[in-house]
Each structure stands twice: as structure tokens, then as C-alpha cells.
């Protein structure tokens, strides 16, 4: 009888050691000095600048990539050309690639030694490039299944009734894919907000200019200010959790299966 509790106990222990205790420690440390200390850490000018940059860049990239992702998904689903399978595999590359390698490749191509003489290193554009790179798969793969399963009868019926392409788009296609697009935006956003490895090389981490939230947390940890690091971490955790919960609710409401 006792051994039946062994499995769950071991699982809970593993989870506690790796996830539960560490998260509790973050919360505890963030508020170790009470709300005052927490708020002081979060409202520090450099923290505010980093958080603002992170949120704005992530939102912008998520929105832009949702359109690019829709375009690419459309081409993948509705168009046919040789090498389509390779293109599809390439889209997934940012998933499998270590983020530091992603950062390195972007730095090589769009940094100081760029063969195109396009240097976005140490600038906010570099951050945008990096975030776009790592979030593109989310944007494509969130709408692609919906487009693929889309019943074209409604489209064709509308067209035969005299609707222009724009109207077909606006009133038939867009409403169907809107929930999936929103989910994709949310996922891309949540991913971008915490991104570190791909951004850290190309951004230069210039305080108040190109320092994202994760870089700021890292430098806090290096200067041993773990309380402030924990506080800003809590902010990031909350943002990600809120977005994830929203996406979960969206999925349940619109019955989107979890194919990203």
C-alpha cells in the first residue's frame, strides 16, 4: 500500500526541488523587505527603463510577426512550390537553435561586420531583430493549423455571391483565424518578454537604451543584489502568467486545439 504513495511522493519531491522551492524563494526574497522594498526595486529608473523597453519591443514584435506569420502560413497552406518542406523546416529552426547561437548569427549578419553593411548592433533594432527571430515560429504555427483546416466553401460561396477579396477576408477568413492569431500574439509576447540569450549579444545591454528586463535582472544578480533581482523577476513572472492564463481562457472559449 505504501509503495503506491512512492511514485507521487518522488514526483512531488522532484518538482519541489526544481520548481516549487525556487519559485517560493523568489517570492519570499522579493518581499523580504516588505512592499516598500519591492516597490523601490521595481521603480528604480533603470528597472523601469528595462521593463518599458522589454514590454514595448515584445508587443511590437508580437504584433508585427502575427501579420508576417499569417502571410507565411497562408503561403504554406495555399501555395505550392518546390522546396516547401525545406522552408517549413527552416521556420522551425529558431525552436531548435540555442538562443546564444541565434544571437551570434544575428550579430554576424546584422552587426559591425555585416556583409550588407547593415549594423543594428547596440541598438533597439537589434533587439527587434532578435525577438522577431525567436518568435516567428510561434506566429506561423499558431495560425497555420487553423488555415489548413479552414473550410473554403464559405469563401467560395461569398465570392460567388459577388463579395470582393477584401470583403471575403474581412468577414469570413479573419474572424475564423482571429482567436488563433490572438493566441499566437500572446505566446510570442510571453516568449519575447523573457528572452535573454539571443538579445544579450546584439543589444549591447546599454542601460536606459538597449537593456532589456532579463539583462537588468542578470546584472543585478552579478552585483549580488538578489532582492532587487527577485523583485523584477516577480514582475516578469506575473506578466507571463497573466498572458498564459488569458491564452488558456481564449483557447477554451474558442475551442482551439493545442497545436500551438
Amino acid at each position: 500500500m505504501l509503495y503506491r504513495a512512492l511514485g507521487p511522493s518522488l514526483a512531488i519531491t522532484y518538482l519541489s526541488l526544481l520548481v516549487l522551492l525556487p519559485i517560493a524563494a523568489i517570492l519570499s526574497t522579493a518581499f523580504a523587505g516588505g512592499w516598500g522594498a519591492f516597490w523601490a526595486a521595481v521603480s528604480q529608473p533603470e528597472a523601469v527603463a528595462a521593463l518599458r523597453l522589454t514590454l514595448l519591443a515584445s508587443a511590437g514584435v508580437a504584433l508585427f510577426n502575427s501579420i508576417a506569420g499569417l502571410l507565411i502560413a497562408w503561403v504554406l497552406v495555399r501555395d505550392d512550390f518546390r522546396g516547401k518542406r525545406i522552408v517549413s523546416a527552416i521556420i522551425d529552426l529558431p525552436f531548435a537553435l540555442p538562443t546564444i547561437v541565434a544571437g551570434l548569427t544575428l550579430l554576424a549578419l546584422y552587426g559591425p561586420s555585416s556583409p550588407f553593411h547593415l549594423d543594428v548592433a547596440n541598438s533597439r533594432w537589434g533587439i527587434i531583430f532578435a525577438l522577431a527571430f525567436v518568435t516567428l515560429p510561434f506566429s506561423v504555427r499558431s495560425v497555420q493549423p487553423v488555415l489548413a483546416e479552414f473550410d473554403r466553401e464559405a469563401e467560395e460561396a461569398a465570392a460567388s455571391l459577388g463579395a470582393s477579396s477584401a470583403v471575403v477576408w474581412r468577414r469570413i477568413i479573419l474572424p475564423s483565424i482571429a482567436p488563433a492569431m490572438l493566441a499566437g500574439i500572446g505566446l510570442a509576447f510571453a516568449r519575447a518578454v523573457g528572452e535573454f540569450g539571443s538579445v544579450v549579444l546584439i543589444s549591447g545591454n546599454i542601460p536606459f537604451k538597449t537593456e532589456v528586463a532579463s539583462s537588468w535582472i542578470y546584472s543585478l544578480s552579478q552585483s549580488d543584489d538578489l532582492g532587487a533581482a527577485a523583485a523584477v523577476s516577480v514582475v516578469l513572472i506575473l506578466i507571463a502568467l497573466v498572458v498564459l492564463l488569458a491564452i488558456g481562457a481564449l483557447r477554451r472559449k474558442f475551442d482551439i486545439s493545442e497545436a500551438i
Binding site: I90, A96, I100, G197, S214, S221, A230
Partner: protein
């Protein structure tokens, strides 16, 4: 047609071109220069450390993943949804946050700091810390790949085997395990890719001590900082090659998945080829 061009150009500029360029930069000064830069003692120890961490962390997460999937699929107890949510938690965490959270528990000034020091166990700035950080960020993948399969196939066969006299272990080995084989392979591949590529959490937790606690990803970063671009790019090539192998494995799993996913995709919790690692920022 123009749509196709725009799409392909975007993909090309953003993804294909940069990766191809890495190969070019790695071998820019010849194959020998690249080879030399990744066979230095520091580079080799980074490679061995990475491989070691991958083996340990992936094994740990796989055992845990299968176990938790069985629990979540078979057992009904209050708070089961909570366990499910906690397993998914690492997906929402920035890797730097993961690293800091581990330091706060296992570091010298952490919750277990005194106890660990008294027993001479070094977690942070040492191998155990790196393994833990890697295992944490990749925690959900096996569960997310195996759990839907378990939920879908049900317990009929297992119960039948049990009534015929099979022991629990035999049931697991000969019925459960083969049936989750594909989902498990998928989950293990995702986990491996994730652990291989982990950077932020390991950077925070390891202290990146040259030759001792540097993984391949940290080696790449320090090579750039030490103005050794060839070393960085060559290291990146190694990781890219391993990533391509991982992608290829995923692809072959996907081909089998596509055949069965059509009838599965109607249900809510079916695994599909596109169920790629969410929020897997490293």
C-alpha cells in the same frame, strides 16, 4: 506569387541567411583554424560538460516526465490540476529568473546554503547546479508529449494484462511503454534540444568558470567576449549540427505523427507535429 516572394524573403533574411552565415564565418579562415579553436582544452571541456549535462538532465526529466504523466493520467485526487499547472510553470519563466531562483535556494546564502556547506556539497557554481538549471527549464516537455497519449489510449489493455496475472512492472514494460513510445521519443528529443541550448539559466547558476563550469553555450559567449570569433562560430557550428540532427529526428517522428494526427486532431488534447516547445526561451 508576389505573396510567396515576400514570405520567402522574410524567412530568408531572418532565418536562413544568418544561419548560413555562421558556417561561413566559422570556416572563413579555413577548416584547420576552426578545428583548432574548438579543440582547445577549454573548448573540449565545455563540450564534454555539455554532453554530460544533457545525458543526466534529460534522463532525470524523462523519468520524472513519464512518472508524472502516469500519475496525472491515471489518478484522480484533489489538486491534480495544480500539479499539472506547476509542471508547466517553467515554460513561463525567463531563464535568468530560473537561475536566480535556484541560487536563492541552493546558493551559499540560500535556504539550503548552510546545510549544503556543512555537508560539503557544492550546487551553485558547480555541476549539480548546471544539471538542475537545465533540468528545470526542460521539465515540461516529456510530460506534455506523453500525457496526451496516455489519456487517449486508456487503461483497457493494462487492466486486461493485470487480470491475466501480469505484475505492475510487466504491465508497464510490455504494454504502457510501447504505447507511449512515439510521444516519449518526441518529448525526449524536445528535452534534449532544450537542454543543449540552455544559456541564461546556466550562465547565472554556473559562474561560467573557464574550463570547469562552462557549457558550449557559455563557451560561445565568452569566445565572443575574448575576441575569438572563430572559436565562437565554430562552437556554434557544432551546436547547429547537433540541432539539425535533433530537428531531423523530430521530423521523422512527425512523419509518423501526421498519419495518425488527422483523427486525433479532433480531440482537445491530442499531440501534433506542431506542438513544439512553447515559450522555450533559453
Amino acid at each position: 506569387m508576389p505573396l510567396r516572394i515576400i514570405a520567402l524573403s522574410y524567412i530568408g533574411l531572418l532565418i536562413a541567411l544568418p544561419v548560413g552565415f555562421v558556417f561561413y564565418k566559422a570556416f572563413q579562415h579555413g577548416f584547420l583554424a576552426a578545428w583548432n579553436s574548438v579543440t582547445t582544452p577549454d573548448a573540449l571541456s565545455a563540450l564534454w560538460l555539455t554532453l554530460g549535462v544533457v545525458v543526466i538532465a534529460v534522463t532525470m526529466d524523462t523519468i520524472f516526465g513519464v512518472g508524472v504523466s502516469l500519475i496525472l493520467a491515471r489518478h484522480r485526487f484533489p489538486g491534480v490540476w495544480l500539479l499539472d499547472a506547476f509542471v508547466d510553470l517553467p515554460l513561463a519563466l525567463s531563464p535568468v529568473v530560473v537561475g536566480i531562483s535556484l541560487i536563492l535556494v541552493y546558493g551559499r546564502t540560500g535556504w539550503f546554503g548552510n546545510w549544503l556547506a556543512a555537508h560539503g556539497i557544492e550546487v551553485i557554481f558547480s555541476l549539480p547546479g548546471i544539471v538542475m538549471a537545465s533540468a528545470t527549464v526542460a521539465l515540461p516537455y516529456v510530460v506534455r508529449s506523453v500525457l496526451p497519449v496516455l489519456q487517449e489510449i486508456g487503461t483497457d489493455q493494462e487492466q486486461a494484462a493485470a487480470t491475466l496475472g501480469a505484475s505492475t512492472f510487466t504491465v508497464f514494460r510490455r504494454i504502457t511503454l510501447p504505447s507511449i513510445r512515439r510521444g516519449l521519443a518526441y518529448g525526449v528529443t524536445l528535452t534534449t534540444a532544450r537542454v543543449l541550448g540552455e544559456f541564461g539559466a546556466v550562465l547565472v547558476v554556473s559562474g561560467a568558470i573557464l574550463g570547469k563550469t562552462q557549457t558550449m553555450t557559455l563557451f560561445i559567449q565568452s569566445s565572443i567576449e575574448n575576441l575569438d570569433p572563430t572559436g565562437a562560430f565554430a562552437g556554434a557550428v557544432i551546436l547547429i549540427l547537433i540541432s539539425i540532427v535533433v530537428l531531423a529526428l523530430l521530423g521523422s517522428e512527425a512523419k509518423d505523427e501526421r498519419r495518425t494526427s488527422r483523427w486525433r486532431s479532433r480531440s482537445h488534447q491530442s499531440p501534433s507535429v506542431t506542438e513544439m516547445p512553447l515559450l522555450s526561451t533559453t
